[in-house]
């Protein structure tokens, strides 16, 4: 079998049905083998979006998704997408073509040392030297990407290697002596967790993105309810427990809810689950670790103690550990937190709800609440980066669906590509991308992809003609010395959508919201809704 065909065969053995990519000379043997392979190829309009689409796909399926690019610029364009997936712990296999082996290192046309360049952003990478290694490498790549703390793995395949003839046999299992992720929590530490929970008067759970990686939403809800522990989330953890759950108190951090931050600061036990204590979530970990007892549950031992010390570190898979904890509480409930919960409820009730409508513009916070009221229970919303991200994070109500965004890398231009991936994986689910006019223009070309491949994602562009978040920063920290944040020159997005044959609409008054949301959600194909937002609209 030709090695290129072996590559597609490996993908099929891994259950891959859809891939996102952009061809070029060095990956042509693979593209040749793709025809008739049964794998659907979605042609993005720029390689970074292939990685974002794979990220969206992987985050909703829980399995590694695939993006493909050619050598040189194709591969380097993938890097931001790969780095985004790495920061957000998303399982991904990136395949790149490479110039022929004997020319490697001679700076030939479209040559880039991609395994070297991407090293800081991958869990592992391979430069395939022998075609016979392809089945083993693919097997390992999928295993590494999808197990332990998930992350991207890159496979770089020189063109001549793709053209070799090999005997194909796909390995049954992998054995990598340097990679044995621990899964179960240490029984002794579990015991310490149990007694810490029983002793605590003001416990709080902080749920991170790790809970989605292992599919532990149900376990989290059960733990919170069994032990009466309030839950807050990081940005990556939004939706780990339904937003409207009575024990949920919002997102913490610099852009989080006041009640969530107060809850952390006043707690006597903080249970971090699958959260890495990022600087935006916890700005002063040093102070916090002195004030409260900390249990840190994470599959990556390197995250424990990296940003904050934990009295009870617990390495392992969050779902398995939560089940271990729940088993230990079997038939035993753990109350006594009523006073604490009441305090938090009072704080939550006091939080102001902004419902003002400046003339001729949409209040994005109120709009997102309205949108939540109309979306289906399992709707997936992808938030981009900027003010739109925080509005969505704080005001969109996640029920059984998801809110996807890049909490780690904060890559503008993530949402449409990621939404494409989500919609490809879940064609029957409502998928909405929320972005700003800055981030939308970083990915506008993807309108072509969603048209070509009939991927009916709904796009909401919050337009304020500014890079709103940076502008706000300049307003508050740089004495309103606005620099490089004006987006004058942007096109009419409604017309841009129309040019692609995509239904579109613009609204600028509250009265128009209801109808717009219904039209958007009921439209059969892709849809673009532009919401005119005041530049003065605040992030929080």
């Amino acid at each position: 079998m030709k090695a290129a065909q072996a590559m597609t065969e490996c993908l099929k053995r891994e259950g891959v049905k859809d891939i996102f990519g952009y061809p070029g000379a060095a990956i042509c043997p693979f593209y040749d083998a793709l025809v008739g392979s049964g794998i659907r190829h979605i042609l993005v309009r720029e390689e970074q979006n292939a990685a974002h689409a794979a990220s969206g796909y992987a985050r909703v399926t829980g399995k590694p998704a695939v993006c493909v690019a050619t050598s040189g610029p194709g591969a380097t364009n993938l890097i931001t997408g790969i780095a985004t997936a790495y920061s957000d712990s998303v399982p991904m296999v990136a395949i790149t073509g490479q110039v022929v082996s004997e020319l490697l290192g001679r700076d030939v046309f479209q040559e880039a040392d991609i395994t070297g360049a991407v090293e800081p952003f991958v869990k592992h990478s391979y430069l395939v030297k022998n075609a016979e290694d392809i089945p083993r490498i693919f097997k390992e790549a999928f295993y590494i990407a999808g197990t332990g703390r998930p992350g991207p793995v890159l496979i770089d395949v020189p063109m001549d290697v793709q053209n070799k003839e090999i005997e194909f046999s796909y390995p049954e299992s992998v054995s990598i002596r340097g990679y044995k992720p621990s899964v179960k929590g240490h029984p002794l530490q579990i015991k310490r967790v149990i007694s810490a929970i029983k002793e605590a008067k003001k416990p709080i759970i902080c749920a991170g993105g790790g809970l989605f990686a292992t599919g532990a939403r149900e376990e989290l809800r059960r733990l919170a309810e069994t032990c009466h522990i309030p839950v807050i989330t990081t940005m990556m953890g939004i939706g780990a427990i339904p937003t409207a759950h009575p024990l949920h108190y919002g997102m913490l951090g610099t852009h989080g809810r006041r009640v969530a931050n107060t809850a952390v600061n006043e707690s006597d036990l903080l249970i971090l689950i699958g959260a890495r204590v990022g600087d935006r979530a916890v700005t002063a970990p040093g102070t916090l670790q002195q004030r409260t007892k900390i249990i840190h549950i994470d599959i990556d031992p390197a995250e424990i103690g990296k940003n904050m010390e934990a009295q009870i570190p617990l390495v392992g898979d969050a779902r398995i550990i939560l089940n271990q904890i729940l088993d230990a509480f079997e038939g035993d409930s753990c109350g006594g937190h009523e006073e604490w919960i009441e305090t938090l409820n009072a704080l939550k009730a006091k939080e102001p709800v902004q419902e003002s409508y400046p003339d001729g513009s949409i209040n994005p916070k109120a709009f997102l609440r309205k949108l939540s009221a109309h979306t289906e229970e399992d709707c997936v919303v992808v938030a981009d980066v900027g003010q739109n991200q925080i509005w969505t994070a704080n005001y969109f109500e996640v029920k059984k669906g998801r809110l996807l965004t890049t909490g780690g890398m904060g890559t503008m231009g993530y949402s449409v590509g990621a939404a494409e991936g989500v919609k490809t994986a879940l064609p029957d689910t409502q998928v909405i991308a929320v972005c700003g006019d800055g981030s939308f223009q970083m990915q506008m070309m993807e309108l072509g992809t969603i048209c070509q491949h009939h991927i009916p994602v709904k796009i909401i562009v919050m337009k304020n003609n500014r890079l709103g978040m940076v502008r706000e920063l300049q307003k508050n920290m740089y004495h309103e010395n606005y620099s490089g944040v004006d987006l004058t020159g942007s096109p009419d997005f409604v017309k841009i959508a129309q040019a692609y044959g995509i239904e579109s609409m613009r609204i600028s008054r509250a009265e128009e919201e209801e109808k717009a949301v219904q039209t958007l959600l009921q439209s059969a194909g892709p849809f673009l809704l532009e919401c005119d937002v005041s530049p003065e609209e605040s992030t929080l």
């Binding site: 590494i144 103690g305 990296k306």
Partner: protein, 165 residues
């Protein structure tokens, strides 16, 4: 504080760059790094001396352990390790002071491995501290060139890096 970390890695191309890249990217300071193949030709052993707090050393260990190519890792406690570094030092030496330098080498268990009309090259295998000391003593004679390998180390006693505790 200086700590010596022994790492068993896959003997593949690119492994060293992954390890050194990790150090620079996470701002860990490497004092010395030495690498060579082991009794098993599919594995190399890297010895790294790092200077840093307990926090840094713990982070170095954990981040290194995340690399797929790292098979095993052990930080050797200062009082339970045997460490050596090889040094070649070329010293200015003429007829008048050759004898002095030969005496110094003899006292320090070093070897004269090359000699010319104007220089002598001394080979010494010792701990880093002793080599530093030797250089201090040789300095007045005029040091032309110093080449050092970086520290390699093993633990004292019959245990190896593979011994399970």
């Amino acid at each position: 504080m200086k700590r010596t970390i022994s790492i068993l890695v896959e003997n593949h191309p690119g492994v060293l760059s992954r390890i050194s890249g990790l150090f620079s990217r996470r701002s860990f300071n490497i004092e010395s790094l030495a690498v060579g193949v082991t009794e098993d030709s599919t594995m190399s052993r890297i010895t790294i001396v790092v200077d840093g707090s307990d926090y840094t050393v713990e982070q170095v260990e954990k981040q290194l352990n995340k690399l797929i190519d790292v098979i095993k890792l052990k930080t050797l406690e200062p009082d339970e390790l045997i460490s050596r570094e090889l040094m070649l030092v070329k010293v200015a030496a003429g007829a008048d002071n050759r004898g002095d330098i030969i005496n110094i080498a003899k006292v320090m268990d070093a070897k004269i491995c090359d000699i010319t009309r104007t220089t002598m090259t001394i080979e010494a295998s010792e701990t880093t501290e002793k080599l530093d000391n030797m250089l201090e003593i040789l300095r007045p004679y005029g040091i032309r060139e110093v080449v050092r390998t970086g520290t390699i180390a093993t633990q004292k006693g019959s245990d190896t890096i593979n011994t399970k505790k």
